[in-house]
């Protein structure tokens, strides 16, 4: 079912948890709410569920205003972070709960309930465990019972709060793959909350990146990773080198350098760059080594580390406080014999993002964003 969130604002005793958030979730989509703790992602999930109510704004379920509906009437499936399985009930009774508590008129008879439970047990691959109690299950099994319990009521939307948060790394990876396959099979509209970028990028159809109670960017995993809309997204998704630059006459110069370090425009845009101070975001693997000084940044290698197919260089550049991190394929690095600690090299960004300097005044940022509408400026992200 389509879920539409319109200008939702949530305050907890004066503290703002969500600042006028809007989001459209399409039917059958698998959506990740990604952000650090305190970004408002869990609050947003609980608002969709009806476990919290917004201070302002509305939520539509399939075109119908559900803002005032209680969690009971929204027919959502909610999987809690710590599963919240009923400890004193068997796996069978846990899964059957949502059907057993229905009013007599709409309650399926015992045979039907049992049939449904066994179907779900098969779906989550827990056949034969129906008589166990939650305490007799592993973390991954509990997770799947919680999922089966939520699916038993044929939910309009499936909501998962940090679904893999409490599991160890290997189980987490297996379950992730399994959940992806399950979603492909059942096609439930699914929203899950996570602070793990890898999880969001691997699992979701679309990723909603949140920070400080606002949505920073919504897009497919490729969009948000390759074309981050804000400095926050750049730094939160993967790592990035941040270089202070100066823009003059359409050229980008590293502060204190005379040569331009790039001529092409960020994100393939062809708009004129506005003069002023800015920050250039370059991912470690978006640097390339080059031979000529043209558009290149000169530096000295301080450290070389190779692991799992990658070679990582830490490069000191005159005038920059922080070392620049560069990553490349290990066999690629082997080819260039010049790589040694202390060697002078030239690097060039292949791809980058340019944002107005966050230390500049908000007025200036606004000015730049006017000319570069694709560069969303978050005023409070500047602090």
């Amino acid at each position: 079912m389509d879920v539409s969130i319109k200008n939702i604002r949530k305050e907890f005793q004066g503290a703002i948890a969500l600042k006028d958030v809007s989001l459209d979730i399409r039917s059958g989509e698998l959506i990740a709410l990604l952000g650090p703790s305190g970004s408002g992602k869990t609050t947003l999930l609980r608002l969709i569920a009806g476990l919290e109510f917004s201070t302002r704004g509305s939520i539509y379920f399939g075109g119908e205003d559900a803002s005032a509906k209680s969690v009971r009437d929204r027919h959502i499936g909610f999987v809690f972070q710590h599963y919240a399985l009923f400890k004193h009930m068997t796996v069978f009774d846990n899964i059957a709960f949502g059907l057993k508590v229905r009013k007599k008129a709409v309650r399926p008879d015992k045979m039907l309930i049992a049939k449904k439970v066994y179907e779900l047990l098969e779906l989550v691959q827990l056949q034969g465990l129906e008589k166990r109690y939650p305490s007799q299950l592993s973390g991954g099994q509990r997770q799947r019972v919680a999922l089966a319990r939520a699916l038993a009521i044929d939910p309009t939307v499936l909501l998962l709060d940090e679904p893999f948060g409490a599991l160890d790394a290997q189980v987490r990876k297996d379950l992730r793959r399994w959940l992806r396959a399950l979603h492909a099979q059942t096609k439930h509209t699914t929203v899950f909350v996570t602070h793990d970028q890898e999880e969001a990028l691997e699992l979701a159809d679309r990723v909603v990146v949140m920070s400080a109670g606002a949505i920073e960017q919504v897009g497919t995993p490729n969009e948000v990773y390759d074309h981050p809309a804000t400095p926050f997204v750049y730094e939160f998704l993967g790592s990035a080198n941040v270089l202070p630059v100066h823009v003059r006459d359409g050229h980008i110069r590293l502060e204190g350098f005379e040569t331009t370090i790039a001529t092409h425009h960020p994100n393939g845009s062809h708009q004129t760059l506005v003069d002023g101070r800015g920050e250039l975001f370059v991912r470690p693997h978006d640097f390339e080594l080059c031979d000529e000084r043209h558009h290149a940044i000169p530096g000295i290698i301080r450290m070389i580390r190779s692991f799992s197919g990658m070679t990582r260089l830490e490069i000191a550049v005159t005038g920059l406080e922080r070392l620049i991190t560069v990553e490349m394929q290990r066999n690629h690095a082997k080819e260039s014999a010049a790589l040694a600690v202390g060697a002078r090299i030239l690097i060039r960004p292949r791809q980058f993002g340019l944002f107005p300097s966050r230390s500049d005044s908000a007025a200036k940022s606004a000015e730049i964003s006017q000319i570069h509408p694709h560069l969303r400026v978050i005023q409070d992200g500047a602090g």
């Binding site: 569920a49 959502i76 909610f78 809690f80 919240a84 009923f86 508590v101 009521i153």
Partner: protein, 294 residues
Amino acid sequence: MDNPTHYDGHPGAKLRRGSLQESRLVTGLLIGTALIFLALLLFLPLIIVFTEALREGWGRFFEAWGEADAIAAMKLTVLVAAISVPLNMVFGVCAAWAIAKFEFKGKSLLTTLIDLPFSVSPVISGLIYILLFGAQGLLGPWLHRHGIEIIFAVPGIVLATIFVTFPFVARELIPLMQEQGTEEEEAAISLGAGGWQSFWLVTLPNIKWGLLYGVLLCNARAMGEFGAVSVVSGHIRGLTNTLPLHVEILYNEYNFMAAFAIASLLALLALVTLGLKTALEWRHGAELAANKTH
């Protein structure tokens, strides 16, 4: 690389073991002192209660129990407990539910008030009822006009007992329910359960052992309460005498044997309570300690 850390850690561990060895004497002394105190203050009196009660043989012992006033006292004690314990159970569950699962103004005040009976002398709490409902009390004349008797009658005893015993169930449940949080209830209502369904099917089963524990202690105190009940009862033999008050009357009449025989009944109640309490702790200790293991 690993070696130095290991080396560093080792002497520290040795030192700790050494300091434990040194304190063995101190540990022994502490345990010894505690045991002597227990023997003097608990075991010795308990033995005396039973030896005194049986001094004149089993026949006289049961005779004391079978005496009309004693039977009346037993009946009254059971009646008072039968009224006050269920009421406190309901109150305790309500208060614990409210405090543990909701945020509201005056929550800390309510928590403090629940503890009040523990901090006030039982005699004072009895006296408060006299000042409220007594003949010269605030509501006394009105009650008298309508023919309602509270003080020196069974209602007063019940009220005093309820007041004195009301922290037991709530005190036991509040930390337990706080520890369990609201996730399971949220899960229940998200699956379509109503408020009552979620209480009966989820909340109550989760707190049942803690509730039983609290009820057990509440009952022991309700049957054994002396101070508050003594003030409001009026000590009318066969009418407003509970077991503890009956013991006092017999003792004051130099009827030591009978006094001890009745006292042994109360002591027996205490021992049974203690046994059940220990069994509960042993069997369901994890749940009572509000342990969050699933």
